[in-house]
């Protein structure tokens, strides 16, 4: 199944105990005692609607020992251990998470699960109400994918807000706030597709569940999830983060060009439950170091920028480099086109991909500096609307990307 093979004993025990309603797959090694406590709380959970029978639930976590790989807890929950895939290396932390997520999804497919909820190894999402919120719509309502909306302040998760989410929305046509997440729930139809890491010919890249399900025409909804994970890349330098996250999104864009170029306009992804309260952040952010990075890069990286960007954009960036920090703004349309031009340069390989992504980082900081100044007096809700406005601009600028993608020599 999708190139993922499990030990024979685990395979055998899965066959003996299949099918299950829901597999909750924990992506990584865990404190087993803490896990058992959490699993105990799932007793009697009925996920097929009011009055339904308790659902048959299995919980899988990474780990190996010589005992039976599938046991039944006192609460009647199947508890399984699966072998952890080899790590991709310390600079590829999201890829490790994605690989484990694929393992969990493959496990669910092997177990003939009707749904698979992927939860991060801190177990924050492994609570009965969260499991119900995520799994019930999938089991009951025929939803193919339920994505989380994490609580975030206006200065949080800015790579997601400024690039990953708006570009995903523009390309794949779904308004998903967090296209790359540690927790989500997928329906049976999508398990094999999501587990398949062989689409990108080299090594499997990151798993973008919403983008993949959107390409399959699946139904995607969202629900608030009140947890804050320590992101896997915490402590890494920004260049490494951009390289891994943005590089993966660009790779996916190359692999799926024939599909996303057919998608026109976006569809909303219905949100379940209470919209999660936004986090108000009052702490001011100093934008001067970001502007300085941009200005220095405008001198040091101009050569790369000129190879990647059309003359009009380079001129705009030069103009910006002369602005006083408080006037610093990168217009949304310019930012969207910059991202698209870099996606194209990444595809064309005229400059090494590492250089391309490295040259994007100070431009991202330039956008962030402008954004921070713009929303410094705004509420979290106003800032959300500002981010939504950016996503719309990414959609409006999509024809620019398609045009340049199809005939790369033309740039004005």
């Amino acid at each position: 199944m999708a190139g993922i093979e499990f030990p024979a004993e685990l395979q055998k025990r899965m066959e003996e105990t299949a099918p299950v309603d829901l597999l909750v797959g924990v992506t990584g090694a865990v404190d087993v005692e803490a896990l058992r406590v959490k699993v105990g709380r799932l007793r009697g959970l009925a996920l097929d609607g009011e009055g339904s029978h308790p659902s048959r639930i299995a919980v899988a976590y990474a780990g190996v020992d010589s005992d039976d790989p599938v046991t039944v807890t006192e609460e009647g929950v199947l508890l399984a251990r699966y072998p952890m895939p080899a790590a991709a290396g310390e600079m590829n932390l999201w890829r490790d998470v994605s690989n484990v997520q694929r393992n969990v999804l493959a496990l669910a497919a092997g177990w003939q699960a009707r749904a698979c909820m992927v939860v991060y190894s801190d177990l924050a999402a492994l609570e009965p109400e969260t499991v119900r919120t995520f799994a019930e719509p999938v089991l009951k309502g025929g939803i193919d994918l339920l994505m989380p909306i994490y609580p975030a302040g206006k200065y949080d998760a800015l790579i997601n807000k400024s690039l990953l989410a708006p570009m995903s929305r523009a390309l794949y046509g779904r308004r998903v706030r967090w296209p790359l997440t540690a927790d989500f729930c997928a329906g049976a139809k999508m398990l094999e597709k999501l587990a398949d890491g062989s689409r990108v010919k080299s090594e499997a890249g990151l798993l973008w569940p919403a983008n993949l399900v959107a390409m399959q025409g699946g139904q995607i909804n969202q629900a608030g999830l009140n947890v804050r994970h320590a992101p896997p890349g915490e402590g890494l330098d920004l260049n490494a983060v951009v390289r891994e996250l943005v590089g993966s999104l660009f790779e996916e864009a190359e692999a799926n060009a024939a599909l996303w170029q057919r998608t026109r306009a976006s569809q909303p992804a219905t949100r379940y439950g209470d919209p999660y309260p936004l986090v108000e952040q009052e702490e001011p952010v100093d934008t001067r170091p970001m502007v300085e990075s941009f200005v220095i890069a405008s001198q040091n990286l101009e050569e790369v920028w000129r190879l990647v960007l059309p003359p009009a954009t380079v001129l705009e960036l030069k103009r910006m480099a002369r602005l006083a920090p408080e006037q610093f703004r990168l217009a949304d349309a310019v930012w969207a086109r910059i991202v698209y031009d870099f996606a194209l340069a990444h595809r064309m390989r005229r400059v090494s991909r590492t250089h391309v992504l490295g040259a994007l980082t100070p431009l991202y900081l330039g956008w962030v500096a402008g954004y921070v100044q713009e929303v410094s007096g705004a509420t979290a809700q106003e800032a959300e609307r500002r981010v939504d406005q950016l996503a719309k601009v990414f959609e409006e600028q999509k024809p620019y990307l398609v045009s340049r993608w199809r005939w790369p020599e033309r740039a004005v």
């Binding site: 060009a257 992804a269 949100r271 919209p275 005939w407 020599e409």
Partner: protein, 568 residues
């Protein structure tokens, strides 16, 4: 006792999709002509491996290798003397294996030649046959006769060099049959052992991982008196046996028929999807040139009207030029005369029943014409096949013998020997093209890679664009019938994709009114630049095309405005 129900796993090919060849872009090349890694003046597998990135960057997905087996090379390798090896000039079997692995690793498929109709007269089978007594198994490998009067209705193919399809062998004291050169005796498919041996050859290469084989000269396998010895039922039985062997042992492989016949005669080579997966559409190619020269779409629409439906799992192979002459066997006498006048002013440009020239010289090096013809190649129903060097507009050398003028070394750079080899120029298997227009100093890969407007970059963009739309490889074709016959307009449709292609065959601007009323309300989006055109209405749709201009237009349904986000 061994079970009779043992299921033997089929050997997988490098492609995942059994119909991979429908979406493929083929790139045909000679190993000897592509790149020389050991500087002996002859291209080799080592050189080819070094240049695979170029093929990947071009966008080709399948390499078609012309014959590379041991051979006396009296017909550029189509005279094979050992089916199970590599000609020492090109490397070793191990080199081939390495090439295959590297190609697969880069996502390329590989097609090789299976020359089934004949061998070299130096092949051990023929040498054994001519020495073997009449009626023996060895003798029966080839077609022998006491007289040269049998099969008199079979035409002679190489009219410039052969006067008969029979030649006298003084050792055997008998005539042997050959449809091509006299040094290429035809194998005798009435002898079942011949097919058995050829299947062993086939399995040898497929086991190694080869993805596809081109069955050379496939209409001529079997001879019968009172027929023209082409396309006989017994020939089709042999092809079915070959296909059966492939389907029984292998997944996702492909066979392509070289049958230079009219489309109706080629149709049986697809069988009911149980013979060849692909066959060349030979007659389309000269008619494209004719339409261009006459500035009239009729030759193209006429031959396509004669083209029958083929099984869903099959595909036409389309090409503008290849390693042979631009063959005129499948056109009428008048059409042939016209083609000679239009495209081969110098008699040296002609050979057999055709014209031995490359694409760019045939089109007077006119960029507009080159682009137009490639746009047809990429948008007609079938899989496009590019001939090495045509993507940079390489020229030919009509002063070289046979068809060698279109088989000169690939022009990589303006360096010595066009960057093909570091050997002494006198040692090259063929001189490089050196004239002022097409010579390697003017036309080469290095220069065109550095030039954003070069033909090479144009080809790369076009190929990449074609690959975004499966409709080109898989869709249906319907011609529109505008009153201006200088305009060729056709619709390709597949799985909800609708693409309108419009081409101006004329050297001057042309207006056209297209009946697109069936698509009223849809938005035409020009595909190269992603430019929206006015919405299609109730009236005929007017377009104007510049000299040799073409448009690819995707017909899109207007999208509903963005709905607001919903909450439940």
């Amino acid at each position: 006792m061994a079970s009779e129900n043992v299921v033997v796993a089929k050997k997988a090919g490098s492609a995942d999709d059994p119909l991979w060849f429908k979406d493929a872009i083929f790139y045909e090349l000679h190993v000897k002509a592509f790149a020389d890694s050991n500087n002996d003046g002859i291209g080799d597998f080592g050189g080819l491996i070094q240049r695979l990135d170029y093929i990947v960057d071009l966008g080709a997905t399948c390499i078609w290798l012309l014959p590379f087996s041991p051979s006396p090379l009296r017909d550029d390798g189509y005279d094979i003397s050992d089916y199970l090896n590599v000609h020492p000039s090109y490397g070793t079997l191990e080199d081939f294996r390495q090439f295959l692995n590297v190609a697969h690793h880069r996502g390329l498929q590989v097609m090789i030649e299976l020359v089934v109709n004949h061998t070299s007269d130096q092949h051990p089978w023929f040498q054994a046959s001519r020495h073997a007594p009449e009626g023996s198994a060895e003798r029966d490998f080839y077609v022998w006769s006491d007289t040269d009067q049998r099969y008199r209705d079979a035409r002679i193919i190489f009219t410039d060099t052969e006067k008969s399809n029979w030649s006298w062998d003084p050792v055997a004291q008998a005539y042997y049959w050959h449809r091509f050169f006299s040094h290429q005796p035809d194998l005798n498919f009435d002898n079942p052992r011949v097919l058995e041996e050829l299947l062993k050859v086939l399995r040898f290469w497929l086991d190694m991982g080869v993805d596809a084989v081109r069955l050379d000269a496939v209409p001529y396998l079997v001879e019968r008196d009172g027929t023209n010895c082409e396309n006989l039922p017994e020939t089709h039985r042999a092809i079915k046996a070959i296909r059966e062997a492939i389907d029984a042992g292998y997944d996702n492989r492909m066979i392509l028929a070289e049958a230079n016949q009219l489309p109706a005669a080629v149709r049986p080579y697809f069988g009911d999807g149980d013979e060849c997966h692909m066959a060349f559409h030979f007659p389309l190619m000269p008619r494209i040139y004719m339409a261009l020269s006459q500035e009239d779409r009729h030759p193209i629409t006429d031959i396509m009207a004669q083209t029958p439906e083929i099984p869903e799992s099959c595909q036409w192979g389309l090409f503008l030029r290849n390693h042979d002459e631009l063959t005129l066997e499948m056109v009428t006498g008048d059409e042939r005369d016209y083609m000679y006048l239009a495209y081969s002013a110098d008699p040296r440009m002609r050979i057999n029943v055709g014209i031995r020239r490359r694409l760019a010289p045939l089109l007077d090096n006119n960029r507009g014409r080159i682009e137009l013809l490639n746009s047809l190649l990429f948008s007609f129903p079938g899989t496009p096949i590019l001939y090495y060097g045509d993507e940079i507009g390489m020229g030919d050398n009509i002063y070289l013998g046979d068809r060698n003028g279109v088989r000169t070394p690939m022009q990589w750079s303006g360096d010595r020997n066009a960057g093909f080899s570091r050997a002494n120029p006198a040692k090259l298997y063929s001189p490089v093209i050196m004239d002022a227009i097409y010579g390697y100093e003017a036309i080469n890969v290095e220069a065109q890679e550095a030039d954003p407007s070069s033909l090479l970059n144009w080809m790369r963009n076009m190929i990449a664009l074609r690959k975004l739309f499966k409709v080109f490889g898989r869709g249906t074709l319907r011609f529109l019938d505008p009153s201006n016959r200088k305009i060729l307009a056709y619709l390709r449709e597949w799985d909800g994709e609708q693409v309108l292609c419009v081409a101006n065959l004329s050297r001057v601007w042309q207006p056209v009114q297209l009946d697109l009323t069936r698509f009223e309300g849809m938005i035409p989006v020009e595909m190269l630049g992603y430019v929206e055109f006015p919405v299609i209405g109730k009236e005929c749709y007017p377009l104007t095309l510049g000299p040799y201009g073409f448009l690819w237009i995707e017909l899109q349904t207007p999208s509903a405005g963005p709905a607001d986000e919903q909450e439940e």
